[in-house]
């Protein structure tokens, strides 16, 4: 079964690429809008160095935003999730802030923070923060009460309760949040770069689109997608390693 699945996946990708190439060569699609895969490959070789530099720029900002999201999200989620009054008061606000599209405040953020890395990092952080916060809050609320009682009966201090019981108990949710948050952070950074960037992959892609450079645009899109998928797969791998006790 697995072999057939892999074969089918590979065959489908090759067939799609082949059909695409054929259609472009035969002139069924306008190469101005849909360039052939070979043209994309050639464009990739041409823009390679510059594209990688732009990708590094984007990923750098994403990394900062991501670290901020994870640290703030886990810390705030632990505190809000474990204090009942805070949790009950703040929960609807957090859910609302998670749900509403942050794109609406993007113009204002750019207005206040200007162009450059700061708005990208800020916007990326508010994108990544909320999924992590929501998951961690829920996870802390749902920690098995017996474990908390056991820790109390063994004389755990507040610090020990957080460090030795609550934090390890929510590791699976933190990891799930980290996976979601990463994609959200990258999305936030790219949106800012597209809206008001002067550097980075989002800016580069917008510039290619506005300049009708389809092969370069497709190459850049493929590069960002591949990077994103690779990072998420790496996180999944880490997740499996860290959660061996779950079985």
């Amino acid at each position: 079964m697995t072999l057939r699945v892999r074969a089918l996946q590979l065959a489908s990708i090759l067939a799609a690429l082949g059909a695409w190439e054929g259609a472009a060569r035969a002139g069924w699609v306008d190469p101005l809008f849909v360039p052939a895969p070979t043209a994309v490959a050639i464009a990739f070789a041409r823009i390679g160095g510059a594209a990688l530099a732009a990708l590094a720029d984007t990923l750098g900002k994403t990394a900062v935003a991501y670290v901020l999201s994870v640290v703030l999200g886990v810390a705030a989620g632990l505190v809000v999730g474990s204090v009942r009054l805070l949790r009950e008061v703040l929960n609807p606000f957090v859910i609302a802030l998670y749900g509403i599209p942050k794109i609406l405040v993007l113009p204002w953020i750019v207005l206040v923070l200007g162009f450059g890395a700061a708005p990208a990092i800020f916007y990326g952080t508010i994108h990544g923060l909320f999924p992590i916060l929501v998951l961690v809050m829920g996870a802390v609320r749902d920690v098995d009460r017996t474990l908390v009682t056991v820790a109390r009966s063994y004389g755990a201090t507040t610090w020990q309760l957080y460090w030795k019981v609550l934090l390890p108990a929510i590791v699976p949710s933190v990891l799930a949040g980290m996976r979601l948050g990463l994609v959200f952070c990258l999305l936030g950074v790219l949106v800012v770069e597209m809206f008001a960037g002067v550097r980075g992959m989002g800016y580069v892609m917008s510039a290619f689109a506005n300049g009708f450079q389809a092969p370069e645009l497709f190459a850049a899109t493929a590069l960002v997608s591949a990077a994103s998928i690779a990072i998420v797969l790496a996180l999944d791998h880490l997740n499996e390693k860290l959660s061996h006790w779950r079985g």
Partner: protein, 262 residues
């Protein structure tokens, strides 16, 4: 009464809980004294406040009035240097191995890693878990999990062991074996055990004394001395007679707890 000095004194303890349908009195003027080295069982119908009483001894439940003294000192909160508790749900930390779970209490007390590892490893033998040091809770059977939980309590080496229906979730055969095993541990360590159970048989096989509690609000209805030697046989005439006596005491309360129907 036993000649041994009293290690636990519960004096006129009352406890009310606030529920959505008004206050409920869980315990009413309960008094009980337990001597050092005793195996004292609390038994009674569901909701009679056995677990509440145990929670008070462990410092987990505050009391409304009365006094609870452990070792002559009033209980003000959890005190893992005097009292260790085992819960019905083993409450093992799923991210810790057997050994790490047994070490938990010592770790909280700041015992150096090497020493607590030594204590925990030595305990694995009597716990019957020697080959399972590195296993996670999900890899253990129900009986094994409960032995790890008991190991965790034994590791901090308190004089008093509180056990809240520790075998309640196990099947009957495992339960009998765990009882035999616990008796062995108790006789070797000479700890004072306060044991909560629903099972008459378990109470009769294990206890030196059995305190029968009434339906809510819980009071101590009567205290049975079981002076027989261990190991006991359920079929012995003495125990059969005691069982009948115990059941007649409890039956009435269980009926009341069910609302007098049947």
């Amino acid at each position: 009464m036993t000649a041994s000095p009293r290690i636990i004194a519960i004096e006129n303890v009352t406890k009310r809980y606030l529920t959505s349908s008004g206050p409920v009195e869980a315990l009413h003027e309960v008094s009980l004294a337990v001597g050092e080295g005793e195996f004292c069982t609390l038994i009674g119908p569901s909701g009679c406040g056995k677990s509440t009483l145990l929670g008070m001894l462990g410092g987990l439940v505050p009391l409304d009035s009365g006094r609870v003294l452990v070792d002559g000192q009033p209980v003000t909160g959890p005190d893992p240097r005097r009292v260790a508790t085992v819960f019905q749900d083993a409450g093992l930390f799923p991210w810790r191995t057997t050994l790490e779970n047994v070490e938990f209490g010592l770790e909280l007390q700041g015992v150096p890693a090497e020493r607590r590892r030594g204590v925990a490893t030595e305990l694995l033998g009597p716990l019957g878990l020697r080959g399972f040091a590195g296993k996670y809770p999900r890899e253990l059977s129900g009986g094994m999990k409960q032995r790890v939980a008991i190991g965790r309590a034994l590791a901090i080496d308190t004089k008093i062991l509180l056990m809240d229906e520790p075998f309640g979730a196990l099947d009957e055969q495992t339960r009998l074996l765990m009882g035999e095993w616990l008796l062995d541990i108790w006789r070797r360590t000479k700890k004072t055990v306060i044991f909560v159970t629903h099972s008459l048989q378990e109470a009769l096989l294990l206890s030196t004394r059995i305190a029968v509690m009434t339906a809510r609000p819980g009071r101590i209805k009567s205290v049975l001395e079981v002076g027989m030697d261990y190991p006991r046989l359920m079929e012995s005439g003495e125990l059969v007679a005691l069982r009948a006596k115990l059941w007649s005491e409890i039956r009435e309360e269980s009926l009341r707890a069910m609302g007098g129907r049947l």
